[in-house]
Symmetry: C2
Subunit: 813 residues, 2 copies
């Protein structure tokens, strides 16, 4: 009898041990170690500084009057009663602020030339297009008064018909979200590689699937918040905002508010999670700046939890159609993907690009010859969608792993075996994927084999057969999620058609002060990822110092003027590598100075433990701290050398990295109640060498939890009129730790050739491999009862109903 319980203690330690053994291209004293996160002490003891903790004296507080209707014309706004409330400083409408903004909230990823982009003002003028859209702003001397005043603002609406479903939205006669566009169609973005029609024509079997990617909410621990403080010097503004992207916020606020980008300093203080929802510029940020400028006082706003449900972008929101053509032996010949992507009512920063970005990973780990993809963006009267952990690639992995199980069932083959027959062979130099992009490196069979072995696949299949044959009430299913993600978001390197106007580089500066301390400035903007710890490890190894002597500065555009911020699993493979390369430049300069001071050749120097000495001698040595002081005093430097020990590096990777993995979920489904219990969860990931295994584990834990949440629990639901029915956390069921299994983690390591550290990124992998593994497991548990399709979230109710429809009669309790 096999164990279905969680990992034994010795298994949970395996990951760290493996990582410690693994090394990588640059093994070091600290890189590869589970150095304790320096960020955690403050976070865990309540001493973190969230934006809402920033209490600037005399700050004004902002609150937003939001539309209660999904679609309506604004006939008038009565603000007199609100203005009369003591403590209210101003009540302003979109009309009042007509001259405060140079442009509306911009879309930064117009995926096609003829994409339709509706104007998106920080405050609505004339019409509202989703519940939660802001129509007026109240400013008061305290937050409670501002919120009280909201109820005194009278908005007179003419309700209009709403559309909330992407398929309905494209039907003839559907209500139009934006009448002036004449259509709810936003764009069509196609990709075709190889002769797909021919592949399908010569196939032995074709399987097709229609899967729903429900809308989900980021639900970070910290909702959004912003404080704009007019600078006491120079006429600029300091913007404290809970964002993943302070540099984007600087550049975009400058454009929206008509301020020179050099007059805006954006600081992201401690940020309590983003998950893609804080990779944006929001109306409230622009409003706070406009009001601080108008009123000459700090202006603050903090999102309520219910505002988060309607005013912060949603994730996912797609209808996926996928078809695979294969031989009878299970070899895939071609794949067709057709998406309808729900834009919501407006295009936020990356809205149109999210689904398109997935185009390149629907082929997953599998090698075949013909691939086509088409995505249509569709407007609805709902909150805009945008990035959400795993964006595009999570949806892709879900679809391709669902269809692989469908194909296996069609062929009567084992799902692992079908997958194995289609894997790319191991490769260590870039290899072209069916979608036309170049994967960097991979040994997919090794990874999947390790996962199958770790979970005890054969024994599980035997146990499954036993239970089926016994007709037990609780059946088990085994679901596999093979996936690749693309890390190091680098749009400029993507093939034609992805028109994001931004380079994929990241900047780092490393400098030593005269006191021998090291300062690292990074353009990444951590919000839970532990960059302060990991970048210090990387720098410490390069400079032979202790990580405690390395201060990492970030998330402040005055201090780090160049940066592309944190999202898309880019921070380590782009930003961390930039730190590594900048630190390497500093070490090289230190070596030249040390050679000069020691009157030796650079090549003859040993550099160990932060000390330069002449190799093979016990003669004089000089520490790197002494070199830093000498570099500042500049009294005795090599001819022509500039003073000071500082260097920057702007690293522009030649390609995405392509982390990958195999996640396996073992689920028990109670066929009487429809309830699913995950009993095992094995994840073998390959993100190249590990800098800090504990951080990698943490990223995987969180990501897998998030994928399980989408698979089983979460959905932002609306009624037919566009009213949210999950407007609070009581309705929107975020799982708790007790709802989740223990995770069994392991990894393989195939270094990426795209960067000198070989690292690939791990921020999203957990959220990509998990939802298909879980849903496949549930279906696998009940497929023999006739249930071969379920949609996320796979609730007990849905499973029970599907079993009923399939003819499985539950015993009465």
């Amino acid at each position: 009898m096999i164990t279905l319980g969680g990992p034994r203690p010795e298994e949970s330690r395996a990951m760290t041990q493996t990582a410690e053994r693994s090394g990588g291209p640059r093994p070091g004293r600290f890189v590869g170690q589970s150095v304790r996160r320096r960020e955690d002490a403050a976070l865990l003891t309540g001493r973190a500084t969230w934006t809402d903790n920033i209490a600037l004296p005399a700050a004004l507080h902002m609150a937003l009057v939001r539309s209660p209707l999904a679609h309506a014309r604004i006939r008038g706004i009565g603000a007199e009663a609100a203005r009369a409330l003591p403590g209210v400083v101003a009540v302003l409408t979109g009309e009042d602020l007509a001259d405060d903004f140079a442009i509306g909230l911009p879309c930064g990823w117009p995926v096609t030339e003829d994409i339709k982009i509706p104007e998106h003002l920080p405050l609505a003028r004339g019409e509202v297009n989703h519940v939660g859209e802001a129509v007026a702003v109240v400013v008061a001397t305290d937050a409670a008064t501002a919120r009280d005043a909201l109820e005194l603002v009278e908005v007179d609406y003419d309700e209009l018909p709403a559309v909330v479903d992407v398929e309905a939205a494209l039907q003839e006669g559907a209500p139009l979200v934006h009448e002036q566009l004449g259509t709810n169609h936003c764009y069509t973005w196609p990709l075709a590689v190889g002769d797909v029609d021919a592949a399908f024509a010569r196939a032995d079997v074709v399987v097709e699937g229609r899967y729903l990617q429900q809308r989900v909410l980021a639900s970070p621990m910290e909702p959004r918040a912003v404080v704009v403080d007019p600078d006491p010097v120079g006429g600029g503004f300091t913007v404290y905002t809970s964002t993943q992207v302070p540099h984007f916020v600087r550049d975009l606020l400058a454009m929206i508010c008509g301020v020179s980008d050099s007059k805006i300093r954006v600081v992201a203080p401690d940020v309590g999670g983003g998950f893609g929802s804080k990779l944006n510029i929001y109306a409230e940020e622009a409003l706070a700046l406009a009001l601080a400028r108008r009123l000459g006082r700090p202006v603050k706003w903090t999102e309520t939890r219910s505002e988060h449900h309607v005013a912060t972008t949603h994730g996912r929101g797609q209808v996926q159609r996928i078809a695979v053509a294969a031989t009878r032996e299970g070899r895939i010949l071609g794949m067709r993907v057709n998406l309808l992507a729900d834009m919501g009512a407006y295009l936020q920063l990356l809205t149109p690009g999210i689904a398109v970005f997935g185009a390149f990973t629907y082929c997953g780990l599998y090698d075949f010859g013909a691939y086509s993809f088409e995505c249509q963006g569709v407007f609805t009267n709902l909150t805009p969608t945008d990035a959400y952990r795993g964006a595009g690639r999570s949806e892709a992995a879900y679809a391709h792993e669902r269809i692989m199980d469908d194909l296996a069932r069609e062929l009567g083959m084992d799902p692992a075996e079908v997958r194995r027959r289609n894997l790319h062979p191991p490769f260590h130099e870039p290899r072209t994927a069916p979608s036309g992009v170049m994967y960097d490196s991979g040994d997919y069979d090794a990874c999947m084999s390790k996962a199958l072995e770790l979970v005890g696949y054969a024994e599980l299949r035997a146990e499954q057969r036993r239970r089926r044959e016994a007709g037990e009430q609780v059946q088990i299913g085994i679901g596999i999620g093979n996936f690749t993600e693309s890390g190091g978001l680098s749009p400029s390197k993507v093939a034609a058609g992805v028109r994001l106007q931004s380079g994929g580089w990241e900047a780092a500066t490393v400098r030593m002060t005269t006191s021998g301390k090291v300062e690292v400035v990074t353009g990444t903007s951590p919000h839970g990822q532990g960059h302060e710890t990991a970048w210090a490890q990387i720098t410490a190894d390069a400079l032979g110092v202790h990580p405690d002597d390395v201060e990492v500065r970030h998330s402040d555009t005055a201090i780090a003027p160049f940066g592309r911020d944190t999202y898309g699993s880019r921070s380590l493979p782009v930003g961390g590598v930039a730190v590594h390369l900048a630190a390497g430049k500093v070490a090289d300069k230190a070596r030249r100075i040390a050679a000069h001071l020691l009157e030796a050749s650079e090549d003859d120097l040993d550099f160990t433990g932060g000390r330069f000495s002449v190799a093979g001698t016990s003669g004089p040595a000089v520490t790197i701290q002494e070199v830093a002081l000498a570099a500042s005093l500049a009294a005795d430097l090599p001819e022509g050398m500039e003073p000071n020990l500082t260097a920057d590096h702007h690293f522009d990777p030649p390609n995405f990295t392509w982390p990958f993995g195999t996640h396996i979920c073992v689920a028990e489904v109670d066929t009487e109640t429809g309830r699913t219990r995950i009993v095992r969860y094995v994840a073998v990931d390959d993100c190249g060498p590990l800098v800090n295994p504990a951080i990698v584990e943490g990223q995987l834990h969180g990501g897998i939890a998030q994928g399980i949440a989408q698979a089983l629990y979460e959905q932002a639901r609306y009624d037919a009129a566009g009213n949210p029915t999950t407007a609070t956390l009581a309705d929107y069921t975020v799982p708790a730790a007790s709802d989740l299994p223990a995770f069994e983690l392991d990894q393989t390591i195939t270094p990426s050739p795209t960067n000198p550290m070989g690292v690939k990124g791990i921020g999203e992998s957990g959220a990509i491999g998990s939802s298909p593994a879980v849903v496949n497991a549930v279906i696998d548990a009940v497929a023999h009862l006739g249930v071969t399709h379920l949609d996320m979230p796979v609730t007990p109710q849905q499973v029970w109903r599907a079993l009923s429809v399939a003819g499985h009669t539950a015993r009465t309790a």
Copy 2:
């Protein structure tokens, strides 16, 4: 009959015209032009941000209880009544703050190994050593309450005998400023080059002088002020302070308060003049930080004008003895200099070094073989002395030009002729001066000849003879001030013995944003010098953009982490050159990208007006703004090139620069009243090529005014007990514009070989050449009546008395 009036209109334009013609090593479209100062609009219309304008809500206000006695033991401090005053938050003594400071206020220029450095606490403990020393601090919710509370603090003193004169201080049995030192002697610093005794032994004539350099006050328009704001994020502090040296303040506050330097951000807002007095770290800055740390609220302090007179460092304060040995033909053979330098009661940052720094310029423009110098630092019960415009070099020029006139009188020669016989011949590569330092370049005869010609020297001498012979009541005198200053303070390059622990480099970063704007970050810290204008000119020429598109950021250690700040005429020849070199790196990178984009060879590209094109063709071109965008998008860059158009340069000059000049003052002295009127003032300066002639003129106007003020008006006076008798601006007579003549300025240009721009600096020249020219003119007017010695300030009373003593009987009115 010659004109003794001010310059004719055509003369006052001469300087700008000459400068526009002059060019220099890097003539450009904007460099060399009198571009209007961008700083002035805000300054002239009351929109500048002085530190005192920074009104952080909920800020606490600090006021200091200061000693009314020059020397006393503190027996006790009664603070109860002050603490009881409503609005008072805290009253703290030195004892209360014993644990708040890791060290006292440091001396950063210990000129000898055995220098005596008394402990200098931010608040006195046990003993006070000068009037104005802080003994307790009051913190209140508003500034008026804080000041009211001062009168309620009762300090019980035991008065001790005080010493206020450096010569008296060295006498046996003099009261000791610091009893524990056992002496008032601080240090002795000697220098000797050549065989001075032999030179004096073989001389035909020896002349000796004893000159007094009175104490003067900086009297900036804006007194000192500081606001310390605890950062809302990260546990650090933002320090707004009216300083010349934000980087030094950061590093020194970190040491004094025991805070990591990376936790202190120093911002110098608009600073209303420094003149050396804000090149320091002061007790109030340390106290404000300590109190902000204790109380968790912003703490603010603004100096009153009367506090400025006792609590801000004084300038000068020396007794100079100088002797020159010469041949009968007027050739100098040797020079001896002996100084007593008044330290005051404590050593501030640079106190001991100021007089020592002058050691290298007592030989002025003159070439001779033997030189000795000795300076003794002496403690007195007065406010500490420190840097003051021209520091060290102004005193030197005063002494050597006084003694040149004494020598001329002794020899019966014309003062110009004596000088001419001793000038170095023209040189364009470094040349050793009698003091052992290397001068960079100079054509001293050309400069002096131009000044003599411009003033009409021969005609003036004729007029002087006429008036003498006629026995007119109003006599005229002609005074010459030849001088060299050392610009680009670079202590690491000075010969042995100057032990200032700092490199002489300056840092600059130049970057272009994607919007095509240019940001310059400079480590210099302007406080009136116009760096924003001048650095924009330099950058604009290098990058082919307009200066209006260049933003210059400075005086904020978060934004400009590397910097050595502004003093000692260093900003242009070190910091401006760093900007020039960094901009050159950016232009070079832009050229490489442009060549790549245009598919041309770099060498074939023209770069004109910000456009790169293939030379000799009318083919495609690319602007540098387009190059900047391409560098950010990074989609098409040369192989291996890092993205973004940014570069920094840390420029470490190989030597000081040595600006020089000849100033000539023509003064009328009313022999009946002793009143002096300056009727002509001609200055020919050589600071290398001019970047902005209007700014050069402004620097000269201010500097000459300051030198005239020392010569004729200003002195910080004390009674024998150490009580200041010039404690307000009513007693301390700062001259007004109406007290000053029109200045006739011109220049010669000998580029410095120490930097690629050839620039030398001009910040202090005016304050160096003027006081000897003026005093020499006054003496020259009355020497024939027997008055050959006067001391600064040359008041009418002093002149009248000296004439009386000499036997000149004034006619009664």
